[in-house]
């Protein structure tokens, strides 16, 4: 079943679908309200669950009184740790595809409280409003234990994690002697950075609807980035037969990582449905969206040493990040610094600090969005100290090999990103002096930064079925969380068989489809796209063989490489007048359908000899009101090198959206913790600020041409993460250029700018 990787198609046939700005194939459903999300599926007799959340951060439940809730007519049951059924015992049964090392959180497992807002009970009632009301009547008494939630207070109480999570690499061993080189450097910077806790806050709140069929089988509509991940998790936890459960998630209202692990609403809905033998929906409230994973708060130090000509001589990047008491959540924060620039003396260090919080969770460009901005702000400060242009400094230390491993990049068009981005932005006109541009009370600043992310690939399987009507159906259990998976997979499939996208239907978000990995880390096009291509290639081969065998047919005896597919036809390359329709080939061969399944596997050998990544250069303009400290990001140019772009329309949107995320990270997003209570306090989206329309102005996206034959048969690297990575730094650097104020504490809010301006004035 393993498909041999084919050679990337460099030359495209006319009418090819790859690279076309196709409008989303699911667009019509989304603009008419026809797209249904997890909480929008229903069944007769659907019951509604509402979760009760803990008010303490650590301790034990000493008493739960559910009598007032149960006394209400229409309340069906209140599930607690005291009455839950038998569940899996071993940690491994609670692990999911994105679980780090440790003991996963188990909802309603026992009396122990390990973080504030932890779910402690589920009320199930005949209506949503009744469940919500009854949840308020559940009385929970606690015995609180001392907790710690303050990373700054405990930053010295850390440990060094190992390879504690899939995809995580501990920092490489030091190169040279970075500390000595720093001390001896002609010019140096040494900065401390803090990055606030952030919550994903997709627009759709997490929800699961479990349809309980009469035969006891379950159809589970879940908000997830991996239907099969949710599927195996609930089967393991509840000891259910895999064939009795099907998880579906045709539409996901954003996730950004929040759906990479099964969340507790899924547990609750399955628990209630299996126990009550009824269909049940559980939807989190917006405050409860702060009750699970988050981007971890991080404290970093970046120290750089350089010669006067800008050559980096020392690079130190240290990070302390929070994790929970029960799991070692890790992400790659510092390794990028050893990869992005040539430097002989490098020391990278990454530590975890345990806090009484829910385990952090991958959030868009996990680690890179935290670590790379720290490096890139430090580079800007270094450029300033050197009196060197920030782009020049980066080009001076540019590397075509990954210094962490010594391997060459399979492709790296970052230099072109700098050049094209700078040109589009008008960077050449920049006066390097801070505070050199002003319009009335507004200080204007131009800043830039670079970004980097991995080009990963996992194994995936796709099945393609071609009907005699020339319509193609392709399926794989991946997800579309707004990323455009439906559309790009349709294009990849249509491309192979020369079909119009209208003739192709792609299915995803269904655990019964062929295997696909969780949708994250920008690897879906690479992994699933390669499988789709492989499956369609097989269908193509069978059609060519059939056409070749058609006695007296226009393509009789033709070889595989002599045919192109266009407009639903097989056409002889040498003589386009020799053509036959797919339908005619199938009829002649008495085929009603052609069905092929294929598994894509990464080019392991070629990959192991290379470093693989996407790169970006971001240029930003800000206007800072000098009197009030408010910031407006008026212009961003993001130049991206991510291999081949399957759909420039949807890819552009991904980058644009990630720039908006970068604006949020730079200026607005922060979850505030009350350390006395050990509780997040601004747990709603009125007070947890994400950018609104008025915050966002011109965003210009450039896709730099990049050719890559190592990454996968498509030559596409994925664009979900790279768009955010350098953006907070470009904005922070633009603020410095505007004001002369260097803020290393994200988000950069009004108070920090005013304080910096005051300091600089010497008040």
């Amino acid at each position: 079943m393993i498909a041999k990787p084919s050679i990337p198609d460099v030359l495209r046939e006319p009418g090819a679908q790859i690279g076309k700005p196709v409008s989303r194939v699911d667009g019509r459903l989304k603009v008419t309200g026809g797209a249904k999300y997890a909480a929008e599926f229903s069944a007769p007799g659907l019951a509604h669950g509402y979760i009760v959340s803990s008010t303490i951060a650590r301790g034990r439940i000493t008493r739960i009184d559910t009598s007032a809730a149960l006394a209400l007519p229409g309340v069906l049951h209140v599930f607690t740790h005291e009455n839950r059924p038998s569940l899996a015992w071993f940690d491994r049964k609670w692990k999911d595809d994105d679980a780090p090392k440790g003991s996963p959180f188990r909802p309603l497992y026992d009396a122990e409280i390990i973080h504030s807002l932890q779910p402690v009970a589920l009320v199930v009632a005949e209506s949503f409003e009744l469940a919500r009301y009854a949840a308020r009547l559940v009385q929970v008494e606690y015995e609180a234990a001392p907790h710690r939630t303050d990373l700054h207070a405990h930053r010295d109480d850390t440990f060094t994690p190992g390879k504690d999570k899939g995809g995580f690499q501990p920092p490489p061993k030091p190169r040279g002697d970075a500390d000595r080189a720093l001390a001896e450097a002609e010019v140096s910077v040494d900065l401390e950075f803090t990055q606030a806790t952030e919550h994903h806050n997709p627009m759709e709140m997490h929800a699961s609807t479990v349809i309980h069929h009469e035969d006891g089988t379950l159809a589970v509509y879940d908000k997830t980035q991996g239907a099969q991940n949710s599927h195996s998790w609930i089967c393991n936890v509840f000891n259910l037969s895999k064939s009795d459960v099907r998880v579906l998630s045709p539409f996901v209202g954003g996730a950004f990582g929040s759906g990479l692990r099964p969340q507790h609403q899924l547990f609750m809905a399955v628990l209630a449905a299996t126990q009550l033998k009824r269909s049940v929906r559980v939807e989190l409230s917006r405050p409860q969206m702060f009750s699970f994973g988050h981007r971890p708060e991080t404290i970093q130090r970046v120290a750089l040493g350089a010669r006067k000509d800008g050559t980096l001589t020392a690079l130190i990047h240290e990070a302390v990040q929070e994790s929970s008491q029960n799991e070692n959540y890790v992400e790659i924060v510092v390794n990028w610094s050893g990869q992005q620039y040539k430097c002989d003396n490098v020391r990278l260090d990454y530590k975890l600090c345990r806090l009484d919080v829910h385990t952090p969770l991958d959030q868009r460009a996990p680690g890179a969005a935290t670590g790379v901005p720290a490096l890139e702000i430090a580079m800007d400060e270094l450029a300033h100290k050197l009196g060197m242009d920030p782009v020049e400094l980066r080009l001076k230390n540019y590397t075509d090999t990954d210094p962490n491993t010594g391997k060459p990049f399979s492709s790296k068009e970052l230099r072109a990103c700098f050049q094209q981005g700078a040109e589009r932005f008008g960077w050449a006109k920049r006066n390097p002096k801070p505070r050199s541009m002003r319009e009335g009370r507004q200080l204007i600043g131009w800043g830039m930064a670079s970004g980097v992310w991995d080009a990963m690939q996992g194994q995936a399987v796709a099945k393609a079925t071609l009907g005699v009507d020339g319509r193609l159906t392709v399926g794989s259990a991946t997800a579309d969380i707004g990323t455009g998976t439906y559309t790009v997979m349709t294009q990849i499939a249509a491309d192979v068989l020369g079909l119009s996208v209208k003739d192709v239907t792609f299915h995803l978000g269904d655990s019964s489809l062929p295997m696909a990995p969780i949708e994250g880390g920008s690897w879906t096009v690479s992994s699933v796209g390669s499988a789709v291509k492989a499956a369609c290639d097989r269908v193509r081969d069978r059609l060519v063989t059939a056409a070749s065998k058609m006695k007296g047919g226009p393509l009789a005896g033709i070889g595989n490489q002599e045919v192109v597919f266009a407009d639903g036809h097989l056409v002889a390359k040498a003589d386009p007048s020799r053509r036959v329709s797919i339908t005619d080939v199938m009829r002649a061969s008495e085929l009603l359908t052609i069905e092929e399944e294929a598994r894509s596997v990464p080019y392991l050998l070629a990959r192991s000899r290379h470093a693989l990544g996407t790169h970006s250069a971001i240029f930003a303009e800000v206007r800072v009101d000098e009197g009030l400290g408010t910031v407006q990001v008026t212009r961003v140019v993001s130049a991206i090198a991510a291999g081949r772009i399957i759909n420039p329309k949807t890819a552009r949107s991904q980058i644009m959206g990630a720039v908006v995320w970068g604006i949020g990270m730079a200026l607005e997003e922060e979850t505030f913790t009350d350390h006395t209570l050990g509780r997040y306090m601004n747990h709603d989206i009125a007070e947890y600020h994400i950018p609104v329309n008025a915050d966002v102005h011109d965003i210009d996206v450039i896709f730099v041409e990049e050719h890559d034959e190592v990454v996968n048969p498509l030559g596409a690297k994925g664009v979900g993460e790279i768009g955010i990575v350098g953006v907070p730094a470009a904005i922070a650097n633009a603020i410095f250029h505007a004001t002369g104020v260097r803020v290393c504490d994200l988000p950069i809010t009004v108070d920090k700018i005013l304080e910096g301006l005051r300091r600089n004035r010497g008040d």
Partner: protein, 330 residues
């Protein structure tokens, strides 16, 4: 949201009667604040009296040359009303600086007056809050207080009033018309909202059995020299860190009258008549504005996370007065 019963009032008299003797009943009109708080379990009325269809939605001229804003006129209709825009531009600007277009289409003027704080602790029934549960303590005092009060707070409550509209009304010296079982009365705007003291659960001086029927704007609208400035954490759809309603009358470069009110800094719209008096007779220039701003913030007190509001408020006052006067200052 707890269980409650619902009825609709067809006349003001009906409405007042429906509330009489029923301390657990509340009026609902726009619903944008009350229903939000009921879902958060921060308010738990047992009965709602729907007053949204009472004929109190008009904006009319008053005999003394002012405008009467019906209590049930929507915020959006008020802000876009031509008379309001031309004669009270500061008020229009303040309304449009608040909430979103959708919420302004729902929210009423009377409801805006009774809007409750956005303090995190008030909203989170899992935490202490003297406003929500008298006697439970003030979580914000020692907790997260970036958005909290710097003026007029007490050891029992450091919450702020979140309204924009009310800040402009305070500066305009509006009058609140109310009706209750004891008949009609008027409340000067400055007396409508309270400071928390040791009873932070009481926001206003409106009787529990009274209904707001209208807000009267005096003739003097400071149309020529006024503005509303709002500083917040994002460009729109966010509550004020600090806001300023500033209004001046200027003759030949000299200030003849001044009004100054702040939002986001206190339990009520913070009007400072002493600072206003300081401005009168002074030249309309930066030094005068700075002196007034310092006077307003003289007694200000910051907490762990909100001390920045003190210099920010000073700067915002200077900026707003400058804009109102039409002069350039930093």
């Amino acid at each position: 949201m707890r269980a409650f019963t619902y009825s609709r009032a067809d006349t003001v008299e009906d409405a007042v009667r429906a509330l009489a003797g029923n301390p657990d009943a509340r009026f609902v009109a726009g619903g944008t604040n009350l229903l939000d708080l009921m879902k958060a379990d921060a308010m738990r009325p047992a009965h709602l009296v729907d007053i949204s269809r009472l004929p109190l939605d008009r904006i009319e001229e008053t005999e003394d040359g002012g405008l009467r804003l019906g209590a049930l006129a929507r915020n959006a209709d008020t802000a876009w009303d031509e008379r309001v825009r031309s004669r009270y531009p500061m008020l229009s600007k303040a309304i449009l600086a608040g909430a979103s277009a959708q919420l302004r289409n729902m929210a009423t003027n009377g409801g805006n007056l009774l809007q409750r704080t956005r303090c995190y602790y008030f909203y989170d029934s899992g935490t202490p809050c003297n406003k929500r549960e008298p006697g439970s303590g003030c979580g914000a005092l020692t907790g997260v207080n970036r958005i909290h009060a710097i003026l007029g707070a007490s050891e029992h409550c450091i919450a702020v009033h979140p309204s924009d509209l009310c800040v402009a009304l305070a500066a305009l010296e509006a009058t609140v018309r109310v009706t209750g079982p004891r008949g009609e009365r008027t409340i000067p705007f400055a007396e409508f909202h309270r400071l928390p003291g040791d009873t932070p659960h009481i926001d206003t001086t409106l009787g529990a059995d009274e209904i707001v029927t209208a807000i009267d704007l005096p003739a003097r609208g400071f149309a020529e020299h006024s503005t509303y400035l709002k500083v917040r954490d994002r460009a729109s759809y966010a509550f004020a860190l600090v806001s300023v309603a500033a209004a001046l009358e200027i003759e030949g470069g000299t200030i003849r009258a001044a009004r100054l009110a702040l939002g986001g800094v206190a339990h009520k719209p913070w009007r400072d008549t002493e600072a206003e008096a300081m401005l009168v007779g002074k030249p309309a220039e930066a030094a005068s504005f700075a002196a007034a701003a310092q006077a307003v913030l003289r007694g200000a007190k910051g907490h762990a996370h909100n001390a920045f509001k003190i210099p920010l408020a000073e700067r915002a006052i200077v900026r707003a007065l400058s804009e109102a006067a039409g002069v350039q200052t930093p």
